[in-house]
């Protein structure tokens, strides 16, 4: 696509909860930026006009949970291409990858490579501790200067409470939010499904809900002690939602997100020993699933992501307990969230808020809205177009990558723009 193009997107349904817009409005792009909503600026002549009749025009999605195995150009190109086709314009990279994002060098390298080889934006969470070992603080000041939007120890818990306290204090000093996957390492060890009737029936090592709630309780107490800005990644249990709800009511600066599959599936949906359901944290009970949905509706959980975590074919093709845990999710996030809209759980504005506006706020990014003068990161979608996700449109190149493969879905991306450039077009 040529740069500096002027584009008129006409007749679409514009949805931007940040500006409380949900209306049939035209949108105009000049180069990198949105230059007009409803009416074009004086003297605007479009190089390209897109008839968006019947389509939704929304800010591009911001994926909070992009877990890539490494920073190789090929991987960055493939995953960002999949993201663009899924309406995602920004990926937030988790620090647990090769190389670990625990210093400015690895962060600057992945940013540079993403700029060169990727087609959507990429931001990073820096490692809270060196090599995520939970022993020594990372150079958080340097990480921030290198462009990190937050810090996290990824899926490795910081087991030593004293070190976690210091890490939170130090992160707060550098005004970095701490993104936590709440898990007690001892109760999680070896487990591969939610502990309950299913784990008992199949003889699979279980992970009790308490493995999460114990860690939520500890991190909440430490946030209160240290004043750190705390965000829980991928909450999975009803009790955790209640704890965060109470903490927020008492005035603590804490937020939380959830993975889309935890809103749609519970452990009773697991096909016995099907490694597509080997997911971390595990699919919980249906009561947990309902509590997570309720947490979305009342605002305790402010964001939804795909928790994209591809697993190699070889790692998938193992007996269930030995198989790699993860789900390829970039390609299905939007359609699965549209499913919640079609079923009446969410409004279209909720979808945009949960998958774009609010993740942008959590990461301190200007995106997630369609204001005049804003960077033109947006997506045009047909909310009803039927399709069936499969191996070919996931980034994992593996049919086993997702339990949603071969399930008919409705809602598909037609165009995706990043900074005014078209990075995906269905036709």
């Amino acid at each position: 696509m040529s740069q500096g193009e002027r584009i008129a997107i006409t007749g679409g349904r514009l949805i931007d909860p940040h500006h409380a817009i949900d209306d049939s409005l035209d949108l105009f792009i000049d180069g990198e930026h949105i230059c007009g909503i409803e009416t074009p600026p004086a003297g605007f002549s479009a190089d390209r006009e897109i008839d968006a009749t019947g389509l939704w025009v929304i800010p591009g999605l911001i994926e909070l949970g992009a877990n890539l195995p490494d920073d190789q150009p090929e991987a960055l190109a493939r995953h960002t291409r999949t993201a663009a086709a899924g309406g995602i314009t920004t990926l937030c990279l988790a620090p647990d990858m090769q190389p670990c994002l625990d210093g400015p060098a690895s962060i600057e390298l992945v940013h540079a490579r993403a700029q060169r080889h990727g087609c959507v934006r990429l931001v990073t969470l820096g490692a809270l501790t060196r090599e995520l070992a939970g022993e020594q603080l990372s150079e958080l000041g340097a990480l921030r200067e290198a462009g990190c939007v937050g810090v996290s120890n990824g899926r490795q818990p910081v087991t030593d409470t004293r070190i976690m306290r210091r890490a939170m204090e130090y992160a707060a000093s550098h005004e970095l939010s701490v993104f936590v996957h709440a898990r007690d390492p001892w109760l999680t060890a070896g487990g591969c499904v939610h502990e309950g009737e299913l784990s008992t029936r199949l003889g699979l090592p279980g992970i009790p809900a308490a493995a999460e709630t114990i860690a939520v309780a500890r991190e909440l107490a430490l946030a209160e002690l240290t004043g750190a800005q705390l965000h829980f990644c991928r909450l999975s249990t009803a009790e955790s939602v209640d704890m965060v709800r109470r903490a927020r009511a008492s005035g603590l600066a804490v937020s939380a997100d959830v993975a889309i599959h935890h809103l749609l599936l519970s452990d009773s949906d697991i096909e016995p020993f099907d490694s597509r359901y080997r997911i971390d944290p595990p699919l919980r009970s249906s009561a947990d699933r309902e509590a997570l949905l309720a947490g979305l509706v009342d605002g305790v959980i402010s964001a939804v992501c795909s928790d994209h975590r591809p697993v190699s074919r070889d790692a998938r093709q193992q007996p269930f307990p030995a198989a790699g845990a993860g789900i390829a999710g970039l390609h299905t996030l939007l359609a699965l969230m549209l499913g919640l809209v079609h079923e009446g759980h969410l409004t279209p504005a909720d979808l945009v808020r949960l998958a774009s506006t609010s993740p942008a706020q959590l990461l301190g990014l200007p995106q997630g809205q369609l204001g005049n003068g804003q960077v033109a990161d947006l997506c045009l979608l047909d909310p009803l177009q039927p399709w069936t996700p499969c191996e070919a449109n996931s980034a994992e190149h593996c049919a086993l990558g997702s339990p949603f493969h071969n399930t008919p879905l409705r809602g598909r991306v037609i165009h995706t723009f990043v900074g005014g450039q078209e990075v995906y077009s269905q036709t």
Binding site: G196, R201, G203, G206, F273, Q317, Q318, P319
Partner: protein
Amino acid sequence: MNPQLDKDGNLRHLLEIEGLGRDRVVQILDTAESLLPLTERAVKKLPLLRGRTVVNLFYEPSPRTRMTFELAAKRLSADVLNLDVDHSSARKGESLLDTLRNLEAMHMDMLVIRHPDSGAAHFFATHADPQVTVLNAGDGSHAHPTQALLDMFTIRQHKPDFAALTVAIVGDIAHSRVARSQIAALRLLGTGEIRVIAPHTLLPADIDRLGVKVFTDIDHGLRDADVVITLRLQRERMQGADLPGSQEYFRHYGVSSERLALASPDAIVMHPGPINRGVEIASDVADGPQSVILQQVTNGIAVRMAVMALTMGGERTAAQEPGT
């Protein structure tokens, strides 16, 4: 969707008891009964699996289970290949899928698999060529269906009316594939009451949802039981977070003759073996008149022969071969 059955509902693999249905379990037991006299004859061979190759692929050492599978296959005239793999080194080496492909390249007909991961037998059955039959000889804590079937066979020899029975299973339910398969089989056969007896550290979550009564006090749990099944306690569980020690375990959960007296006077005592004497069961009980532990071993051969014959359509093969 049951991977054990083909599209006509015939038994293709034996992976677990769940999904077999009562009639098929009874069919297996009846077939075993017809084969049992053979194992006592001087010439103990049938030509049902002549020319077929059975591979015993064991990722955990289990000499007894492997021997009875081997004997069962040999008595049906199959060629048998035993492959014992050290699991800890296997994890670093060849993948399970590569092992399977190699065995298929050698044209095996039946794979008997023992593996420490729950679901390993399903894994092999899912990935195997259509002409290969997979028998689960124990996968993780999930299932050990032939053991459960031979246990049902042994119970039926002594007490044929399952609806009238109270069966008590004592020991490490949490980690026992034997207990899970026994519970499933006992339920299919309409057992009156199934009890599990163990401290909470050895009971898995929500075990009551499997249709059993839970007891932490063995004296209550054994009362009036008709069948007492003791489970082997793995050495690594004896000391640590699950249990403080083997002596303490025997004192509170070991089946002694005093405790056995609480059960029905004609109760039978079973154990899948190998026994830890003085840990889960007292010697005088294991060797006593109510013990049927050695009958279980004998029956194991007949039951495994029955399963092999039924899964490979051996009866048909025999009928088609004149002069055999």
